[in-house]
Amino acid sequence: MTSIATHAPLLSAVRRKRRTLRARLARRAWPYLLLAPSLLLLAAFTYLPIVRVVWDSLHDKVHGTTATLFVGLRNYSDLFADKAFVQSVVNNLVYAVGTVPLSMALALLFALALQRSGRINAVMRALLLFPSMVPLVAAASLFFFIFLPGVGLFDHYLGKLGIRGANWLGDPDVALWSLIGITVWKNAGYYMLFYLAGLQTLSSDVLEAATIDGANGWQRLRHVIVPLLAPTTAFVLVIALINVLTQVDHVIVLTKGGPSNSTKLVLYYIFEQAHENFAAGRAAAASVVSVSFLLAVSLFSLKTMERGAHAAS
């Protein structure tokens, strides 16, 4: 009896341990199993291409030769020595400064003006959202006719006011600003959607409290609404910055980076190097640089967003 008595709990303990081990293993493996399909897809279509681009950026094949050589970081040093690349970075910065704050401010303004539901507001929202539903290629093709020097819609109406319009896409001092105008027109309505959603989540208690405390409209906006919308703002900022680096359709349709490189954005530079100049290595290096930049911006903004969310709650 004693032997049984002493053995029985031991055996069951082992069994129990084994069972918990298996259960723990199963619990650990289960999520990976569930993740497997998307992980596989991500690996095939995101991670492997990234690795490939990094690999390509360290190699070079001179146009006209057959051998692909390992060149270390030479593609990167050549890239930063290339005046056209430096100019495309500068253009992209101007483009970011010109489009992001303005379209976000307009988006917030639209959202504040149209946050109450009503028939007129619904129509206005749809109207403001409309530009973001037009594909960028189509929008750019439309603006080709609006910006036509002399006969375009823009110059037609300016002519009625007695003003001779600029050469909107043909003057290097103006062309980038024309593209900035299209981008703001196109994106402000889209960002408005996020702000509308953000405004819905604000608790009315806080606003009522502020009103009772005697805060006027501006003070409520400045000290209550805008800080509470910080997570939305951080999110919209990330989207807007990604758009700045990933949207290039209007450049291709309207200017092809000209005149004299004045509208060449980084993505167009990459396209040109890879497909016009037979310089895949340098294009890969430029891709790595711009993607790393995007990654850094996203990580930074997401961190701030979390902090903002904590502060808000």
Binding site: V62, H63, G64, T65, T66, F144, F145, L148, P149, G150, V151, G159, A166, N167, L169, G170, D171, P172, D173, T255, K256, G257, G258, P259, S260, N261, H275, E276, N277, F278
Partner: protein
């Protein structure tokens, strides 16, 4: 064991059937501008497939010339090269240098003919863009030249003879001055990328120049008197004579301005002839590109090329199809349908073509200019080398640079771009 024998039987049947099966090949074609051309091309492909049993061609519409180049390169990298591709004629050299396309000499030999005999019926101007390093790499298919379009009504208004368009640069400036008004420019040139280079080639050639070395891909002649004169002429049209809009005007904007009567003359491709014929409401005329030293214009357009990685059967099949597409009869029909000129001289001897020319005298002017046509610029890094000049000319058009400095800087940039090639070729010495 029965399944083995049936498998063997199936295998035998399969090989037997593939031996008599058609050779399947892909044909990539771009259509610059117009959707109805894509339909016509699809119709032609079907016509060919129905006409014989050896080759089955799958026609693939691949967007613009640039996209077609990308897609053909991608398909080749993926191991499924297109047998025949309609490619911008000035990409041929770069594609040969990068090893993407194959020489057509073996096909010529198999046919028992030679390059000289094969090209004999093609206009001399289209030869250079089809030959690289003494071998045939492309079959010319659709071609164009620049042309002067002018508004006859404006000519009458300004006291100019609408039947006597300007023939020289001096006459051009004189006419443009008389035609320019507060809301109208005397002349417009297409100055966006691609078109600008072509127009500069036309002007420098009309000024006695050559633009590039048509026999060797490592030389362009930007910093030369002929190009400087052309660049200065363009600068003067804007800033001295004030007969042309300041800043860059794209090709599409040029034709819109001309159709709307906001520009009285324009230099544009013969490829736009049918578009202008259909859309222009006022009477218009066409004429040769005016000369300063001599009459000369570059060709433009597309040629048929074959990509690397094809099997021998596919090559033979692709060559057969390319020959069919570029036959006298088909080139003539394509020319009448599209407005391009036919690279084959014999196409103009057919009854249909003579009839067409009688009905469209403006197409006759384009044809008459052909004997003065010269090759299209093509160098190592054609696009980048072209942009080196275009960027500078765009600066000139905006008053940011003077012509003498612009051609110097363009030459320097172009030489830097071609340096790797020059070092491997002309400067690689024993």
């Amino acid at each position: 064991m029965r399944w083995i024998s049936s498998l063997a039987a199936a295998a035998v049947a399969l090989t037997a059937s593939s031996a008599i099966a058609q050779t399947k090949i892909d044909f990539f074609f771009p259509v610059p501008v117009d959707g109805k051309l894509a339909k016509e091309m699809t119709r032609l492909t079907k016509l060919y497939n129905d006409s014989q049993k050896d080759v089955a061609v799958t026609g693939v519409y691949t967007g613009s010339y640039d996209e077609t180049k990308l897609k053909a390169q991608a398909a080749t990298a993926a191991g499924k090269p297109p047998a025949v591709v309609l490619m911008s004629a000035n990409f041929v050299l770069d594609l040969k240098i990068s090893g993407d396309i194959v020489s057509l000499e073996p096909q010529l030999k198999a046919d028992g003919t030679t390059r000289t005999k094969f090209l004999d019926d093609f206009w001399p101007a289209v030869h250079a863009n089809a030959i690289v390093d003494g071998e045939l790499y492309a079959v010319p298919y659709q071609n164009s030249t620049p042309l002067l379009y002018y508004n006859k009504e404006h000519f009458k208004e300004a006291g100019l003879d609408p039947e006597k368009p300007p023939q020289t640069w001096a006459e051009l400036v004189d006419a443009a001055k008389k035609l320019t008004k507060a809301d109208r420019y005397g002349i417009a040139l297409p100055e966006g990328y691609d078109y600008m280079g072509w127009i500069m080639e036309a002007l420098s050639m009309s000024n006695g120049g050559r633009y590039f070395n048509e026999e060797y891909g490592g030389e362009v002649y930007y910093d030369t008197p002929s190009m400087l004169g052309a660049a200065q002429f363009v600068e003067d049209l804007v800033f001295k004579h004030k007969v042309m809009q300041q800043g860059v005007v794209e090709g599409g904007a040029v034709s819109s301005n001309f159709l709307a009567g906001k520009a009285s003359m324009m230099l544009l491709s013969t490829g736009s002839l049918s578009f202008v014929r259909d859309s222009m409401k006022m009477p218009y005329g066409v004429a040769f590109v005016p000369r300063n030293v001599r009459n000369a214009v570059p060709i433009g357009g597309g040629s048929l090329v074959m990509f690397k990685g094809l099997s021998e059967e596919q090559k033979a099949a692709g060559w057969k199809f390319a020959k069919w597409l570029s036959s006298t009869e088909n080139l003539g029909a394509w020319s009448r349908f599209t407005g391009y000129f036919s690279p084959r001289k014999s196409a103009y001897d057919t009854a249909e073509m003579k009839d067409f020319m009688a009905k469209n005298p403006d197409a006759k002017v384009a044809l008459d200019q052909l004997p003065y046509a010269k090759p299209w610029f093509a160098t190592y890094q054609t696009v980048a080398v072209r942009k080196a000049l275009e960027d500078e000319m765009q600066a000139v058009l905006n008053g940011k640079k003077k012509a003498p400095q612009a051609v110097k800087d363009a030459q320097q940039a172009a030489d830097a771009l071609m340096k790797p090639y020059v070092e491997q070729t002309a400067l690689k010495l024993p």
